[in-house]
Symmetry: C2
Subunit: 244 residues, 2 copies
């Protein structure tokens, strides 16, 4: 790790208390996980009651974006500058050992903290929604029927500057514990892999044929995290516009 690599500065909010050796605060580690996902769990509280809403998101620099309907509880609660925790996680495997204590899961996760704000203005919303489409499917936004004013008004977009974030990863085999010696159940890891399945074209809609270049990352059998990472790179390589 480069000593001058950009890092988030953890406070008590994001510093790992448990298993600090699994934690990373550098942008590279945090962004790698964020760019490999599309579903985040957005945490917010209303009058002390916590809510965790699964939602699609994307990242631009140190900002996260997500959207919802104007009528959404989540959007109403987080769009006013309330503190938010956005968590992205991947399950990577089951770790089975010789004692219950040693059983574990392999995973990657990021907890990102900040305050969300609504992005208003139809053109700002249009640019952001196009940016989201292009983040998933590079170059696709230009091929779509443009959003109407009525559609843009139905969408509420929020932006969150990441104030601090931590990444946490377990990627290992079965831990060795002296007390477990001599016990003989099967031990090892069952990896968990999330992949793209066979595409299902929508009958009678669009041009048909094979999926176009913007959809190339989602080839059958591709790992989801690799596809999303590749899609993000394609957007950058094509110099496509971002939200702001």
């Amino acid at each position: 790790m480069n000593a001058i690599a950009p890092k988030f500065t953890p406070t008590g909010r994001s510093r790992l208390r448990r298993r600090p050796q699994r934690g990373r605060y550098d942008e590279a580690a945090v962004f790698e996980i964020l760019d490999a996902g599309v579903m985040a769990h957005v945490g917010y509280a209303i009058d002390g009651q916590p809510f965790v809403t699964p939602t699609a998101y994307w990242r631009e620099g140190r900002r996260l974006y997500w959207h919802g309907a104007a009528a959404s509880r989540m959007i109403g609660a987080v769009g006013v500058g309330a503190p938010v925790c956005v968590t992205v996680s991947f399950l990577d495997g089951f770790v089975v050992g010789r004692s219950g204590f040693i059983h574990s899961l392999n995973y990657r996760s990021v907890m990102a903290f900040g305050r969300a704000r609504r992005v208003d203005g139809l053109e700002a919303k249009r640019a952001a929604m196009d940016s989201f489409i292009d983040r998933l499917y590079a170059g696709r936004a230009a091929k779509l029927r443009p959003a109407t004013e009525a559609e843009l008004k139905q969408i509420t977009l929020v932006e969150m500057e990441i104030e601090e974030a931590s990444a946490k990863v377990r990627d290992a085999g079965v831990a060795d514990l002296p007390a477990d010696a001599g016990w003989a159940p099967w031990c090892g890891v069952f990896p968990v892999e999330t992949r793209i399945g066979a595409p299902r074209p929508e009958p009678g809609m669009g041009a048909g044929g094979a999926p176009t270049a913007d959809l190339a990352p989602y080839a059958e059998g591709a790992r989801l995290d690799a596809a999303l990472t590749q899609a993000a790179i394609m957007k950058t390589d094509q110099g496509l516009p971002v939200s702001t």
Copy 2:
């Protein structure tokens, strides 16, 4: 749906505001999703600051269980009867259409609300941790080196009675919008599938050979949700003890 099927009674907290046609409140729908997962996102607030911690969980009846280290921030915050939201979600597909507005994701999710409490007492903790092992790997707990008192003391276990819960599912193709007619990008769904990979035995640990019957659901190529559902059924079928 049977009119007398057990249901959760939604209040303003869990009733779907957006797209109510995607929502379900019956136990069958909620439990089906909860039993297909092992990683939940636990939401809680400390002094108004929300946190979302990914963690392994399991279900028994209307109760959810999870555990952590005694030193964990999450456990300290939720174990004292604070309101909690536990969310489980699965990404099932990318839905690509002819306008940005119509793009979507297929998914299944549950938001479960309640108050968590610590389960203290070494024997209660032992029973619960064995129950968790058996929920994932039916019959395995009896084959493992038993937990020591010191190990049980390091674990903090929490239990949450689900007060209310909602399930939300999108499982469909591309929505048809009259305004999209005539636009010709490729349209359809890219399914997302999470499966078990090739097992990686831990060299020099345990008996080796092929994975044993308790691990049968995690056969290479099995869908993760199906494996976890099958494992839960195996535990019930074998009459293995539960936490309480």
